[in-house]
Amino acid sequence: MAAVQPAGSVDLRQSEDQCGDTALKAVRRAMKTLQPGQVLEVHLNVAEQAFVLRAWARKTGRAIVKEETEGKETWMLVEQVADG
């Protein structure tokens, strides 16, 4: 089976020193550029952000098609849906 190729990428492993977007806001913005069926790659290293993304994906009907964790680092592929 061919590996899923992400159509976009968001790296949340940076600090929030400037009081910018929440992690989920950044992901939602990136998802808007994707077509249904395309996947977004998300890098993060905060457990709370991973929880929030999983809960949001579940509530909005998006599938997390792949997730890997190594130490504190988590990598996810989130699939876009038709009305996303």
Partner: protein, 286 residues
């Protein structure tokens, strides 16, 4: 290790877990973006405080009124004798802002959960989507302490005084004048970028460890004192809209224990927009 000056204002995650359901404790999650945080999962029994709607005046730029404070406390089932334990999204900034606001409105026992929402989740503690309901309490505000708040004319009046220390807690890019706000927050941008003349740049995050808990008091002192932010001065903290500076205000006033620390919540989004105001910038080194 030396104890914090006011250790009673800080509780750890285990203390909170041990007091879930304690009738003398009300746990409040203070969020900037509740839909991205509280609504997806929060500490069992925690009530939501929405920073934009609950801590701010709905029309003019100001903190909530005394009447709104009473209504908020009543809604979350708090009484004046209760311990309010605050935590929240965005690294506890808005929880610290709420702490500052509740102190202005005279609530005696307010505490921050060290490490905030991130630490609770990092430790894989129990969370829920269930929203608790509390009977209204008819809370009455006992008093108002405006000495904790610096307004623009007061900050302008103390410029250049050697008995006053200004702490700019924003990122270096904001302090240096490269940006006035991140592009995703255009409503917080100012006409001019830079900092208040004489301010020392001590970004808020330098006060916390990797797990978002506060650093030991010796390390905190070593952060501020070499930059002239010393207990013999009146200290004014500021950032862009007053929330990150509330975090540093908390550190200086309660953890290190400086006698006079005041938060300027108008911050750069006020100072950088006023015609004729003095502004300092740091020249690029490249």
């Amino acid at each position: 290790m030396t104890q914090f000056a006011h250790p009673e204002v800080l509780v750890d995650t285990q203390w909170v877990e041990d007091h879930l359901g304690d009738p003398n404790v009300r746990i409040l999650e203070v969020d900037y973006e509740p839909a991205d945080s509280y609504e997806l999962g929060h500490i069992p029994g925690a009530a939501l405080v929405d920073w934009k709607q609950d801590i701010n005046d709905p029309v003019r730029r100001d903190i909530l009124s005394r009447a709104d404070m009473a209504a908020l406390m009543s809604r979350v089932g708090a009484t004046p004798d209760m311990a309010l334990v605050l935590y929240g999204d965005m690294r506890n900034w808005f929880a610290a802002f709420a702490f500052w606001t509740f102190k202005i409105y005279g609530h005696d026992d307010v505490r921050l959960m060290d490490g905030g929402r991130r630490k609770w989740f990092e430790e894989n503690r129990k969370v829920t989507e269930e929203v608790p309901e509390f009977p209204a309490t008819g809370y009455r505000v006992r008093g108002v302490n405006l000495a904790l708040r610096a307004l623009y004319p007061q900050v302008q009046a103390v410029l250049g005084r050697d008995d006053v220390g200004l702490v700019d807690v924003r990122s270096p890019a904001e302090f240096n004048g490269e940006i006035s706000a991140p592009p995703e927050y255009p409503n917080e941008a100012a006409q001019r970028a830079g900092h208040i003349p004489g301010a020392q740049s001590i970004p808020w995050a330098q006060a916390i460890a990797d797990d978002d808990t506060f650093k030991p008091v010796e390390e905190l002192r070593a952060l501020y004192e070499p930059k002239g932010i010393t207990p013999d001065k009146t200290i004014v903290t500021y950032c862009r809209i007053g929330e990150r500076s509330s975090h540093t205000w908390f550190v200086l006033k309660y953890l290190i224990g400086y006698p006079v620390v005041i938060n300027y919540d108008g911050s750069w989004s006020e100072w950088g927009n006023i015609v004729g105001n003095p502004v300092e910038k740091v020249a690029a080194t490249t």
